[in-house]
Subunit: 360 residues, 2 copies
């Protein structure tokens, strides 16, 4: 590995910003809401699979001391935040927040099956423990529980028309998310993927649900269409910043922090942003090597290191970071015209800074 690799490995050791306070503020409420939608474990043990995936219990249904395997709950946090920032009662956004988290987790369970991933959030994946058929069912149940969670809006004095609009935004966005997954699967077998193709794919796969989280939160607080549209744009840029950072971490991230295997993305020949950029930008022998290695069925350690070096020499890490930063700035600017209290404006900045600079 060349000097640059060492440089980037060191760079990862700078402590990144911690989870902003807004995550802690909503987490408990969202978990209680999700809890209500998941049925008690019965003979078929399906609820245990769901609770295990959410990091609430171990594989035997026993309690866990430290919930290290829980996700960040980004989407519900965004939804509740948008609602509260626009002077709405965040509790009104709870059913939608729970639905968003359940649907996000449905996509993770199915993604792990598709990608044959053995680990997620520092623990064995559902399919790797219970087999594919059960994991498939668990994912579908998670999706349905999400749909069901949303319908609790009606109990919170949300007008039926608004609930229907929220429901339709949610469904459209997770359809977009699934389309994005499908495009991503297709990319694996296509030799030429442009950076633009790639950005279009992640706008669906990652962006859609992040956008709708914010849009739905806004919609539950206000009938100001301009504010809702601004939060949607905020979500589009935030989603891009989030995913490009994720892609960066998938190659140069610290395994202990991300909970995923470090060279996973390259070893699995994933066409993440740095690789798409590298394929477009590298020239001569580097380009040929990159294409040849990505056309192989299996990659060994030397292949993974060669790919990392090529990407680093092509400037992929810097370009990933600058695209993340640019998207983060655009996200902040998208909300400039919206009338927000000072605390919310500050939290927007903390959030964007965290997502663009996180180590996990």
């Amino acid at each position: 590995m060349g000097n640059k690799s060492i440089h980037y490995t060191l760079a990862n050791e700078r402590p990144g910003p911690g989870l902003p306070p807004m995550f802690a503020r909503y987490k408990g409420m969202v978990e209680r809401e999700i809890c209500q939608t998941i049925p008690a474990p019965d003979q078929d043990r399906l609820p245990t699979l769901l609770q295990y995936h959410l990091g609430w219990v171990d594989r035997n249904g026993g309690s866990v001391a430290v919930a290290s395997s829980q996700g960040k709950a980004l989407r519900p946090t965004l939804c509740m935040f948008a609602c509260e920032a626009l002077a709405g009662d965040p509790a009104r956004a709870l059913p939608a927040a729970a639905a968003l988290e359940l649907i996000h987790n449905f996509s993770l369970i199915h993604d792990d099956i598709q990608d044959r991933d053995l680990e997620r959030r520092h623990q064995a994946t559902v399919w790797s423990l219970w087999g594919e058929p059960r994991a498939l069912v668990a994912g579908s149940v998670m999706q349905s529980l999400g749909d069901l969670a949303l319908l609790r809006c009606a109990q919170l004095d949300v007008a039926p028309e608004v609930t229907l609009r929220v429901s339709s935004l949610l469904t459209e966005s997770y359809l977009e998310m699934i389309e994005g997954q499908c495009m991503d699967l297709g990319f694996e077998s296509q030799p030429r993927i442009s950076v633009d193709d790639y950005l279009g794919m992640i706008a669906r796969k990652t962006g859609a649900l992040i956008r709708s989280s914010l849009q739905i939160g806004a919609l539950l607080a206000t009938d100001d269409e301009g504010a809702t549209a601004a939060f949607a744009r905020f979500g589009d840029y935030l989603g891009r910043a989030f995913q490009i950072r994720d892609d960066y971490l998938g190659i140069w991230g610290d395994e202990a922090a991300t909970g995923k295997s470090n060279d996973n993305d390259i070893r699995r020949r994933k066409k993440s942003f740095p690789v798409v950029f590298g394929l477009e930008r590298a020239r001569g022998a580097a380009r040929e090597d990159l294409r040849r290695i990505y056309a192989q069925q299996e990659l060994d350690d030397a292949d993974v290191l060669r790919v990392m070096t090529i990407l680093e020499e092509a400037g992929a890490p810097q370009c990933s970071e600058s695209l993340t930063q640019e998207s983060a700035s655009r996200a902040v600017r998208a909300l400039e015209g919206v009338d927000l209290p000072a605390w919310a404006r500050l939290e927007v900045e903390e959030l964007v800074d965290f997502l663009a600079r996180r180590q996990y």
Copy 2:
């Protein structure tokens, strides 16, 4: 194979009743409605997978001359029928009917992955042609399109409160359906399944969506809760009659008519009704043989024939038929207290007769 097997093979050659006219009446409308929800094929070809599964196009997206691979569209037909029978405009039930068919087909695509089935409706299954990851995504998209189809209710002058109730009935019932699939998967590894366990499982796996089809159709026609509840009960018995007949056909059905491999259910060691009944009822050597064969990893032709003989000697075919008939009669009686026009009463009888005696 003993005489009894020959007897039952002959019995299958009696022509069964054809598809009742109500199926033809709604089919075109429902297909057009579903068509609107499925996006046009694009570069990732996902819509082709969906259209192929629905029997509209061949595996290359080309048109098909005879739509022999289309299903019966039972659920949308039941939904539209319930609405029309209760003097509602069946067009009001179209979005729900499309949603029900899409959700049923989502479950078939995922079922085929779980069961490793190579054929469905006389054609290769989606996963066997496009691989598991794509089939998984195609199934999820089908489910989401179902959710989305339902929301078109709002355009048809259905009150938002009613749309939300329909949406919640639909989601709850497909959650029940998925739970049933999960119980069914669990049955594979359990040596003792009682007939009661089995009936509880099919009430979810098959019954829930059939019940909600009728319930939703009724709800869109009337605010008479008694009538809606009667249609729900009708659906419960109809679902049981339908599934027990399906199980019978899965062993003694004519392969050319059902579109499935004849000995599929036994060879795959499926614990369908005749087998559960046989395991409960058979005694002595027959019982031991049945248990031993079902504990094997693989079954050869002789094993399949031996199982068929044991089931026939235990009276499983007769018992399946009588339970189907009994459920069919109860289904008809469930609607006795509802004020229905003569044409609808006649069609109920035709439908029940068809479902209980069909050959496919």
